[in-house]
Symmetry: C2
Subunit: 241 residues, 2 copies
DNA sequence: CGGCTGCTTGAATACCTTCAATTCATGTGG
DNA sequence: CCACATGAATTGAAGGTATTCAAGCAGCCG
């Protein structure tokens, strides 16, 4: 059995290098932000909405505790999880320039987000060019992150796709100072499958096979990484069918 | 045979509503931009690079004539076309905040782009809050466009995917005042396939079948749309396998 | 004209999905 | 406190869709 999920600082430096860069504002800026902006904090239980498609867009949101999933819906009702957001990452930036939010954001666990009123952000940005720069950078990073996943989903078969997902989650945990070798997946297999453009049975099978290969140990949502290089080799080399 | 590719203004208003919104700066801003910025114009023949991954990032680029493809490459060499850019659309925004461009951009035909030096853009943005707003909006629109395609590629089977692509291209043509019912695809089947996460044979078969259904006429890169609603029904309703 | 590249089409295969059954964890009510 | 209902995850077998491999055709440029 797998136990003792630690939050110890990762000692493996290479984790950070391979990650799909998650867009975020650094801790330094946050201090400035809190001074400059009327930040309000909101807590959400698992399953609760941070915002819903169609609600008036007024703020962007910085995840402070927990994690959220971003869900896009087409006009005819097809849905897909297009991103997961963890501490330090931004939600809502995709809706800038619109009157209403363009997607749903749902907490995966007990979570907290800081609302940054968009007009206030804009006003602050005029006064603080560095903030301006940071916003551009965050938005651009978001685009690069999406493009990286488009590339991944478009060129990798199911199993390497799942491997790449685990590597990404692990790297993001490491960035936050948590263990990259042992973590809890906060999303269901269904959410993972949606994000990876697979069926949940396929995700399940892929995880089982990665465990058979001794690359990971997995028990429901608890994952222990046994062979990072094995995972990497699978995520990088295997082609799509 | 299909002939007489016109550039007449589209008279079908519904074309514009369904499109995957392409990020762009409106014509109004362009006038301001030209006054404020040291814009330089560059021409490219088909196959030439607007910029390459690794080159120092200095400017964002507004497509003024022709069209380009955006190609992302993974560390291990897998490649994918992640976007196509037409007149009025921006390239290079994904590289904001980096020292070097993050992807390749290649002309699909004789094309011209305006280089907007990024530092100058930033300085102008400080003086002109509207420009600031426009930049945010353009970046956010880019994110939404990517998300929409992630959703499409993740939830639609091959044939509806191709149908959705044709609808998108048609809508973007309409927006530019060209015919939405008759146009030339500027990219190869290989590029389309890469963008749609399919093989070029599959794209070819899908196009042939759409022609069998009398939704379109197609001859190599020349496409004539016969039944928009048929295409729409296919793009919206059919689920992924 | 010849060689080349891009596109199309066919047949066989492989991979993921679909359908179905089982196990496991959780929480609710008797 | 246990029984039971519920939802999530796993696993097996059958099937379908896109891919792979292969061949042929058409346009284009030297």
């Amino acid at each position: 059995m797998i136990a003792n999920v630690s939050q110890s600082t990762s000692t493996h430096p290479s984790w950070t290098s391979q990650a799909v860069q998650p867009p975020s504002l650094s801790a330094i800026d946050l201090e400035a932000l809190r001074r400059e902006l009327p930040v309000t904090r909101r807590k959400h239980a698992a399953g609760q909405y941070l915002y819903r498609s169609g609600q008036p867009f007024r703020a962007i949101h910085l995840v402070h505790v927990g994690s959220y999933k971003i869900c896009d819906t087409s006009t005819d009702g097809r849905e897909k999880v297009t991103a997961f957001k963890m501490r330090g990452e931004l939600a809502g930036v995709e809706s800038i320039g619109l009157d209403a939010y363009a997607c749903d954001v749902i907490a995966l666990e007990d979570s907290e987000a800081w609302d940054l009123p968009y007009p206030a952000v804009m006003k602050a940005a005029v006064r603080i060019p560095e903030l301006q720069e940071q916003i551009h950078t965050a938005l651009a990073a978001e685009i690069r992150c999406d493009r990286t996943w488009m590339l991944l989903l478009g060129t990798l078969a199911a199993e390497p796709r799942v491997a790449a997902f685990l590597i990404d989650i692990a790297a993001r945990h490491a960035r936050l100072g948590y263990s990259a070798k042992h973590f809890i997946l906060r999303m269901s297999r269904l959410d993972m499958a949606s994000f990876l453009a697979l069926k949940h049975e396929t995700v399940s099978r892929a995880l089982s096979h990665l465990a058979d290969l001794r690359f990971i140990e997995v028990q429901r949502r608890e994952v222990r990484v046994l062979d990072v290089d094995g995972l990497r080799a699978m995520a990088c080399c295997a082609q799509a069918a």
